[in-house]
Amino acid sequence: MSTAASVAGRRRAGLAAPAILCIAFFMGGPMCIMVFVSLVERAPDGGVIWGNFTTDAYKQFLFEENLLGETTLNADYLRIYLRSALLAGFTVLATLIVGFPTAMYIAMQHPRRRALLIFFLSLPFWVNLLVRNYAWLLLLRANGLLDQAAMALRLTSEPLNILYSNTAIAIGLTYSFLPLMVLPIYAAMEKFDFSLVEAAFDLGASRWQALMHVIVPGVKGGIVAGCLLVFIPGLGSYVTPVLLGGSKSLMIGNLIETQFAAARNWPFGAALAFVLLMMVMAAALLRAALLRKSRRAKSSNP
């Protein structure tokens, strides 16, 4: 009996193996080589010298050598990382402010209507990211549609000059990733028992108290998942800053791309990508830690 079960188990593991191996080879392999390349010397022709290990790429991230050969701190790259983190953080906040009430509204509808609302919420998400950002390019550019509308309404007499700025990137990112915030919060709210809110009202809670002490803790998992799902692509975004941002609002994605296209500095590009990956992993670990903590809190006071 036990051998028959283990044979069946092995056969079923065999079915899963091709997909697992495919991802392990085409994701794991590249990640390992990327880390390796970030630790070797750059060849003059743009390639790398495989045998020569050095941490130059990571030093270049923080320091620069001036004309006298002294190493000084160079905050340029750090500034780009900080700007990206701030923009991604702002995007999380903006999508949360817009997305939370939307998710709550949808969750309170009749089940049939809910499915339809969710469908139309996620539909734009399947449209190409380039197309979605390009649509905002039409709206935001100088003498574009937003300017035309604002001038027609006599709100302003000059172009607003929103395009090619951090504001434009924030607008583009918020628009691009909004569904990623709404969907997990909605999923959590669908399971949430709204009679608890009525109970809170009966016990004399104000609307704000009911929201903060009953609903938000109840759907916390969905909120955290949504924040992470928005933060990760926001931090590593390439399309939005290229189309809507200017040369003064570079993000990590553009910086990495430059190392592979124009600068031909693979070790530095690989190091930049690795730092980005570590930031994302840190965010994911933070979420896992939060989940564990809330689970422990739940089990300790049932």
Partner: protein, 244 residues
Amino acid sequence: MYVYLYIPLLILIVFSFNGGRMATIWEGFSLRWYAEVMQSDQFRAATVNSLVVASCAAFLATTLATLAALGFRGRPIRGQGMMVPFLSFPLVIPEIVTAVATLIFFISIGVPLGMVGLIAAHTVFCIPFAFITIKARMDVMDDTLEQAANDLYADPRRTFFSVTLPLLWPAILAGFILAFIVSLDDFVISLFLAGPSSTTLPIYMFGMMRLGVTPAVNAVSTILLVMSVLFVLIAAWINRMQRK
């Protein structure tokens, strides 16, 4: 909320039918930009490339995902708790990181930049979409029909082909379509991995956008938008059919 989501896209569609030379100044209805785009050889080549890559990648990803979903059916096998999240691994890595890492990987192991590498890379990030769709269906599928087939002395093979597969077929098709759209829409990974002869539609469009905002870009964007929406509607329709 919905107004905010749809207005920019609707404006884009409207202005793709603009007759004038300016992208955002309306000068009357016309299809001239569509005609101009369709006549371009580069556009046609890019469309063919996109469709080939998306079909191959979606087919491979759906096949692998279906096998994996079948493997995870019933009593959990050893290590399943690790394996299921691992299949979604490509989704949590920022695209730009995957793109540069795969570029370095391909060049180091000697895979030339072009269609083959593009299909391999697309297959990898399509697997999660196909897998999640098929697994979701399998989790709610009850196995009474299969048990009945067993009781009627159907051998495992016959049970699979005459009972399991027909029940699962709509989910496999829906998974295939989602994988197809995801591949068709991909830009960042393709940008790094496509050689000069394997330009896909989003890369072609990006090239046009860099040259300037023109009504022709509006037209190409609208074509891509309509393609995505059409396929999503088909996938949603299939999902509805199977629930009935």
